[in-house]
């Protein structure tokens, strides 16, 4: 029997330089404070601030901190979340004064030396803590008829579309209906009557779709007193959108489409 004299294989075949390999695997942790607007409809008439101190890691997001607070400090903290990965649009909230998704806001991108301020989005009826009544938001969404409208018989194969035709509304297909845009709009805050950026974005998605035949009806709906003309090009919506949709531009395109139809 012969003995194998070749040295054992190293754990990694790649030699990492010391400055990289040194602390490999350890994630920096830090303490941070959260100032959260708490509202319990059975006790409070106004939201009030509570502070929570938590130890978090460099890879954590605001959502992870909220989980930690809910699971380890105060189980009554209420917020919506579902996918936790920026797809479902459940967890839009006002973080340090800006509307964002808690699940897409990394703590390392915030200033953790100061308290991180978390509130519910504004302009929609507050139900509890971070949870607002989304009904007004979805009501104006339904009013713009967010579904394909066609006439005649259903074709026996796909409704074809060129790459250019698809490109015209590509940006607005990305909406996840999180309401970050609509609840960042000062015109919407006043009385909630304005259709709001999200409804216009989703109308845009069908108005500029070459397969859809309901464009005129949607333009008619948005040519309302509370429609696109209330937009003051503040750009809050474009800044708020977690999907990077050029919301203000989409609104401008709908305005143009209404004008072109009228003249």
């Amino acid at each position: 029997m012969s003995t194998d004299t070749t040295p054992a294989e190293p754990a990694s075949k790649i030699d990492l330089p010391d400055h990289v390999a040194g602390d490999a695997g350890s994630i920096p942790s830090f303490d941070c404070t959260f100032r959260i607007a708490r509202f319990d409809p059975e006790q409070d008439s106004e939201p009030h601030w509570e502070e929570y101190n938590v130890t978090m890691y460099g890879t954590d997001r605001v959502l992870d901190a909220l989980h930690k607070i809910k699971w380890e400090i105060d189980g009554s903290l209420s917020f919506r979340r579902s996918c936790a990965h920026g797809v479902c649009g459940s967890d839009a909230m006002r973080i340090n004064g800006r509307n964002r998704l808690a699940c897409k806001t990394l703590l390392k991108d915030l200033d953790t030396s100061k308290p991180i301020i978390v509130e519910a989005i504004k302009g929609l009826p507050l139900e509890k803590d971070m949870i607002v009544d989304m009904e007004p938001f979805f009501q104006s969404y339904r009013e713009i008829m967010p579904f394909l409208i066609t006439s005649g018989h259903e074709p026996t194969r796909e409704r074809l579309q060129s790459a250019e035709q698809r490109q015209a509304f590509d940006d607005t297909t990305k909406c996840i209906l999180c309401a970050a845009c609509t609840s960042s709009c000062p015109v919407f805050w006043t009385d909630g009557q304005y259709f709001g950026p999200a409804a216009i974005v989703n109308a845009h998605r069908f108005i500029f779709d070459s397969r859809d035949e309901g464009g005129d009806m949607r333009l008619e709906v948005l040519n309302d007193k509370e429609g696109v003309w209330r937009c003051r090009t503040t750009f809050n919506c474009t800044e708020a959108c977690p999907r990077g949709i050029e919301v203000t531009k989409a609104i401008a395109e709908v305005k143009q489409a209404i004008l072109q139809r009228a003249f």
Binding site: P136, S140, Q193, E220, D224, K225
Partner: protein
């Protein structure tokens, strides 16, 4: 749990009925068009009054009288008055709509705004057309050249 009465159901969210009116579209268009025209009118006005010739030093009663003796400047100033007033009034109407929450506040502010606008437009128009460049018995030293003829 205490035995308080069941809270009243939240009043359902109600959107205004659609107006089916194109007013807001025309108001929006008017702001852009009047804005562009106002750039020409206002800068033309500033250039002629403050820059050409003796500039600011030339402005006196006679200077204004001389300008309004010409139909060209009458129309120019009339357009500037009407466009700026309608543009400014509609701009303030937008601001009232954006910031006032109670319908009664909204209504009150709008009434004040429209009354003010009508007064300024009517008075201004009257001044431009009924202006007498050579009032009888005035000190001749302040009057325009053509009054002495």
């Amino acid at each position: 749990m205490s035995t308080t009465s069941i809270p009243a159901p939240r009043t359902g969210y109600s959107r205004h009925k659609s107006t089916r009116s194109k007013f807001e579209m025309f108001a929006w268009l008017f702001m852009r068009i009047s804005g562009v025209v106002l750039v020409i009118l206002i800068f033309g006005h500033l250039f002629v009054n403050l820059w050409v010739g003796d500039g600011v030093q030339a402005i006196d009663f006679g200077f204004v009288a001389g300008k309004w003796a010409s139909p060209f400047w009458q129309i120019w100033d009339l357009l500037m008055l009407w466009l700026a007033m309608l543009h400014g009034t509609n701009g303030l109407r937008t601001i009232i709509m954006d910031y006032s929450e109670k319908p009664s506040t909204r209504m009150a502010l709008q009434v004040i705004l429209y009354i003010a606008a009508v007064i300024v437009i009517v008075l201004g128009t009257l001044v431009i057309f009924t202006f007498d460049p050579c009032p009888a018995g005035a000190d001749p030293s302040v009057l325009a050249e053509f009054c002495k003829a």
